[in-house]
């Protein structure tokens, strides 16, 4: 049986005679004796390895059929997805004054009103039905928890419409954490709150400079107090935005968390992203910043530290973007619809509104532009990337058309990231299922 075209293989960093093989379509990872892997590369299969390696997408009956499967991956994913996903901006006021704020000059006293809340519930309800049985919202802003009364109203409406349609309902909040108290969590949980995403930009000396209250007071202490108080009541994700000047300080954040009594079991996800000023003076993050030369070093080093300390962080694997998902949309406070949080408020990038519905965005947003690029179609990274981040493309090239090639970034980072998994996630034999073929 031949090897899949969607593989990344590298010698095990421990120096043993094993090759680590990562299947990009499934995000699978296995260790194969190097001599056996070399035989597979030569087209030989002296020991029938198919039963062990075919379920991982490492060996495939037909490489061309595997290519066709990957080319149809997003279509299949949209057909199978039970989700209607909403990212909703409740309002644009904030009690922080982060100098790099992602929302830039869009902040102000604007908020989602009662008419828009009703229209949002009707919009969501219309998208639920056969095959669409889960409604999930992520609320952000501005500072989400400045809008508690509005949040209760909107979440209650969405909960009601989901129940009418026989769908499940839950929501998360993106919050700076300053108002995330047990009382607030307990008030919102009956309305469907399951998770909160909080940001700490490193230890106090970096965080308090980049995420101060509007009056200049430091915020680190209050946020950590709140995290301690609410842990166990909901799932907590921890994010952080680093710069070229601050990323080396981030590991000390874990010392402060641990001094406060917080540890790996208190978070369901920890990840840090690069924040860089983009073309318009607002910050861009993560994939959008992947071309900065220092980012690869920082991304690898900080993920290694997260794992070394025992915290959970996303695994490399297939992932998708809101632009590619047919039932995912960002809703601005005024009811306009966008296909990416990064595009909100940009003239010309709205794809409809709650009252008139979604327009076809496939051409305007470069959906599946990778299909027209022979390099993408031949790339082993395609399932990890599917054309990259369209927002990054817009920031760099001024257009959503075309692809944002992640190959240089993945060339620099993927093997080191997988090596971290080998070192920290699968260090003990009981973490790995050792299988013999046949």
């Amino acid at each position: 049986m031949p090897l899949s075209p969607y593989l990344v293989a590298f010698p095990h960093p421990d120096g043993s005679d094993r090759t680590a093989v990562f299947g990009t379509r499934k995000g699978s990872l296995c260790l194969v004796p190097t001599s056996a892997y070399e035989a597979l590369r030569r087209g030989e299969d002296p020991e029938p390895l198919g039963p062990a390696l075919e379920p991982l997408g490492v060996l495939v009956p037909d490489p061309e059929a595997e290519r066709a499967r990957v080319l149809g991956y997003l279509e299949e994913l949209n057909r199978l997805s039970p989700l209607v996903m909403l990212a909703v901006i409740l309002g644009m006021d904030c009690n922080f004054a982060c100098p790099y704020c992602y929302e830039g000059d869009r902040k102000g006293p604007w908020a989602l009103g009662p008419d828009t809340a009703r229209a949002l519930a009707a919009f969501a309800g219309a998208r639920l039905g056969p095959g669409k049985t889960r409604l999930r919202a992520q609320f952000y802003g501005g500072e989400t928890l400045l809008y508690r009364a509005r949040l209760r109203q909107v979440a209650g409406s969405l909960q009601g419409v989901a129940a009418e349609r026989g769908a499940s309902w839950s929501f998360g909040v993106v919050t700076n954490g300053s108002l995330l108290t047990p009382e607030v969590v307990d008030e919102l949980r009956p309305l469907g709150l399951t998770s909160a995403q909080v940001t700490l930009d490193g230890p106090p000396d970096t965080h308090d400079g980049s995420r101060p209250y509007r009056d200049g007071r430091p915020s680190f202490g209050r946020i950590v107090e709140n995290l301690v108080a609410v842990r166990g009541r909901l799932k907590l994700g921890l994010g952080g935005n680093y710069t070229r000047d601050t990323w080396r300080a981030f590991p000390r954040l874990f010392d402060h968390l641990e001094a406060a009594g917080l540890g790996p079991a208190d978070f369901t996800q920890v990840r840090f992203d690069a924040a860089i000023l983009g073309v318009g003076g607002e910050a861009v993050a993560g994939c959008a910043a992947a071309t900065e030369p220092w980012v690869a070093e920082a991304a690898v080093a900080l993920r290694g530290e997260i794992l070394r300390r025992g915290y959970p962080t996303p695994r490399p694997g297939p992932s998708t973007c809101m632009i590619d998902r047919t039932d995912a949309v960002t809703v601005d406070w005024d009811g306009r619809l966008y296909k990416c949080p990064g595009l909100v408020g940009r003239p010309g990038f709205a794809v409809g509104d709650l009252w008139s519905g979604l327009r076809d965005h496939r051409e305007s947003h470069g959906v599946e532009a990778w299909r027209h690029d022979p390099a993408c179609r031949a790339c082993a990274y395609l399932p990890l990337c599917f054309g990259g981040c369209r927002f990054a493309r817009l920031e760099r090239e001024g257009t959503l058309a075309g692809v944002d090639c992640l190959q240089p970034f993945l060339d620099a980072t993927l093997v080191p990231l997988l090596g971290q998994n080998l070192r920290y996630r699968y260090a003990s034999p009981e973490d790995a299922g050792v299988r013999r073929p046949g």
Binding site: G27, E76, Q138, V174, Q197, G317, P318, C321, C389, R435
Partner: protein, 38 residues
Amino acid sequence: MDAPEIAVLDPGVEVEEVAASATCCKTGPRANLPEPDA
């Protein structure tokens, strides 16, 4: 000769699991939007 040992460290995810996960950003979020329970 013994058959070579394959150590399966991660079986990976099927498209159904990715389809059912709530995430809106692929490798890095603006405003840290990926779901902590995605």
